[in-house]
Symmetry: C2
Subunit: 193 residues, 2 copies
């Protein structure tokens, strides 16, 4: 990647480090728009940055509803709250779907290989959101191969365009915007909280 | 209110109770659509249910961007993750704005009176999101009266239409949908996680 690291990256890394004792500090909420034009919102797990870039990695199942939302409208906003340091990042951007047909399978394979066995196994479960299967054995499949992601395993790359950082510790709060100018340089601006 | 309590209310109350040691268990993420049709997402504080109803109370500032989003499109989705019990509620619904011109000021006044002094004081701060004021004294106004909400203080009522409850403890996970039928009765359905 030729991209320079955005200035908010160091701030976000610091938040991740300071909140590392909390498992849920690696969870954030991802908002997308459904086919009826309405907002949807769910918790997802941060799977690290895509190699040397500012893009956040998320995984999902091709059978999940959000894939249809994203195919229709790739706009998204992440809301990421860090409980220990009481700070929030709102990250506006677009999602790219890396499925099994994508030209470059390396990032998808790398993220798959870093998943725990139980996370891999979830991709063998029956169709999410459908009426509950009567056969509980359907949830007890073998653990999939480490070398071949299941076909319904999808890597999402979230490409940030704006970041708002809000710090609730201290009075008044602190609020900082990061955005790209016309030459794709990151601008930093302090605003009223 | 004539509304019957929805069946998900007891489940949500149990989650609030079991996570009560965590301040941030009363925070959730609220997604709305901006004027460009894009999703936006931020953390807000749960301010209890509106008297005897299923409607969730949220507060905001009339100068915040989300007020313009909501005036344009009242559709919203709450994502509420409870870290201790590892469960998530996704609540789809619509927002109603109760501002100082609303006929019934009782709920707005009640929520105002329950705010801490520092929460009340935030409504005296300079315009949120504008370039940071040079005069830090602008953040040191007196604490507003308990009996008269400031004019920019807004109560939002979130009226749920669908709830998805996901429990991550245990394997497989458990996922339950709650939705209203044509006669406004709540239906409960177990689906695949």
């Amino acid at each position: 990647m030729n991209e320079t690291l955005a200035p908010w990256r160091a701030i976000l890394s610091r938040a991740l480090h300071r909140n590392r004792s909390l498992a849920n500090a690696r969870y954030f909420q991802l908002a997308t728009i459904n086919l009826q034009g309405k907002p949807t919102n769910r918790t997802v797990v941060f799977r690290g940055f895509f190699n040397g870039s500012n893009q956040l990695q998320i995984i999902t199942d091709s059978r999940s509803e959000k894939i249809n939302h994203i195919k229709n409208n790739s706009a998204s906003e992440i809301c990421w709250y860090f409980p220990k340091t009481r700070e929030q990042f709102r990250i506006t951007g677009n999602l790219t779907i890396i499925d099994e047909t994508h030209d470059n399978q390396t990032p998808r394979l790398t993220v798959w290989q870093n998943l725990s066995d139980s996370a891999k196994q979830q991709f063998t479960w029956p169709h999410p959101g459908q009426p509950l299967t009567n056969n509980q054995q359907d949830f007890c499949q073998e653990i999939p191969s480490n070398n071949q992601p299941l076909s319904n395993f999808i890597l999402l790359l979230f490409n940030p365009q704006n970041v708002e950082h809000l710090e609730l510790r201290g009075n008044p709060h602190q609020r900082t915007l990061y955005y790209l100018d016309d030459e794709k340089n990151w601008i930093v601006e302090a605003v009223n909280p």
